[in-house]
Symmetry: C2
Subunit: 273 residues, 2 copies
């Protein structure tokens, strides 16, 4: 694998890395930014023995990290350029200090509809569905938990943020590069797709009718979660079996990512080694 | 309650609010900064029907929030100054935009030792103990979960960050202003104090001997958690009953705050309404 030294922050080949933080705001179009060694590994190797889900367009590595990452970078296809720069140059390109010294640009494939994604899941499947979760930390946290508990996919309605936003990838510890997901449309359309694919949908809400520990998962089970403040829309709750997490009361409800972890734990207990 | 209008960003009475972000780095000494209406409410009123745990030294409120907060601010002792400023002045004082328009300075009481804190807990008690958790998001998240599931207190060793750091308070949704805590000393000293107070300590670790769902809580139960990367020190694990959360495997372990939520859920199920 040929390393390509770069020393000019204005090198046109580094355009995709320029002002990464601004890109975070305006969106990436077809590209996304992966950051850090753990995330790069999942981008390059994939996870769960499934191979990589995304094509890597290029990588930008700090000089002092190049040796330690040589074996991993060697797994990239030969035509993928790996740029190596000093820290000062790298920080100047990106616009802020990249302490980890590891960046890569991935390419997003054509989006998949929720129905198409659900159709290729196994007969016994567990899916997490999000409606209106626009906070990147929360979306990243949900992906991390979904991967940890072996969920098969994540569905997000169009009001959710992009799981391939840099910070969401980082908080997910790369899970959003590994777990299949589909994003777009309304929350009602997600439930339509889940219903059509034979999923039993359990909606988490402080006002849920059933306590989480009493839930018996179906062969195809979906967990539906909304944003912390507003919660799930009443029309989505009405189409789901509503579930609550028993709490001490008198205090603010749980963070949505934490709720997903508790619910995934409760639903998978006894089914995992 | 007299509102005190301020219009000069250099007003010496606003010194404690100056450069809040720098204070975050260097620490606050006796003072801490509370931010946002929910947190201010817990600072002023306390939680769990226990009254406020901290004295409020002053508040700084954006003009456009003053009317809506009048009833809450009226609960402060008469001698506590409430400064009111335009947003531009407020942002200039603090050094960055304060979108919520609500700040207050609290005063820290003399610190309590873990032993003294444990001694005043009820005979049936649940405590969360942290060793080496230096990330403010994680400490804040643990406090939020501890409050949600009715834990009685949080212990932190000296390698943990301050739960009264501004961001930790915010992520805790004010729980660190409500839940009693003690911080300092070594992890071993925390276990000494827990042992002496008759607590059964369960240490969460991916290598735990017992699965979480099999744990039968004792009358006095402590959950011990370490930082994500290094985990708990072997000598602390050796002095605890080790517990694991069953996961799908093949993916990174859980975030420490999420782990605390799952463990608190599992240990309190059947004991909460």
């Amino acid at each position: 694998m040929p390393l390509i030294p770069v020393s000019d922050p204005d090198d046109p080949r580094l355009a995709p890395y320029r002002a990464v933080r601004e890109r975070d705001v305006v969106g990436h179009g077809e590209r996304f930014v992966a950051e850090g060694e753990v995330v790069l590994r999942l981008l390059v190797e994939g996870g769960r023995g499934a191979g990589p889900r995304f094509a890597t367009e290029s990588a930008l590595i700090a000089e002092h990290r190049a040796d330690a990452l040589a074996a991993l970078l060697g797994k990239l296809p030969e035509e993928v350029p790996v740029y190596v720069a000093g820290r000062t140059v790298m920080d100047a390109v990106v616009g802020f200090p990249i302490h980890r010294g590891v960046l890569a640009i991935g390419r997003r494939p054509a989006p998949e509809t929720p129905a198409a994604l659900l159709a290729r899941l196994p007969e016994r499947a567990l899916v997490v569905a999000l409606s209106g979760v626009s906070n990147h930390d929360n979306v990243g946290g949900v992906f991390r938990n979904a991967a940890a508990f072996g969920a098969d996919a994540v569905l997000l309605d169009g009001a959710c943020c992009d799981p391939l936003y840099r910070k969401a990838i980082r908080v997910s510890v790369g899970a959003s590069l590994v777990l299949p997901f589909a994003r777009g449309g309304s929350g009602a359309a997600l439930i339509d797709a889940l219903d059509a694919a034979g999923f039993a949908t359990f909606a988490l809400s402080p006002a849920g009718a059933q306590e989480l520990g009493e839930v018996v998962p179906a062969r195809r089970t979906a967990l539906l979660l909304g944003a912390e403040g507003p919660g799930l829309a009443p029309e989505l709750m009405a189409r789901s079996r509503t579930v609550r997490v028993a709490m001490a009361g008198g205090f603010d409800s749980l963070n949505v990512a934490t709720t997903s972890g508790i619910a995934l734990y409760a639903l998978t207990r006894g089914r995992l080694a």
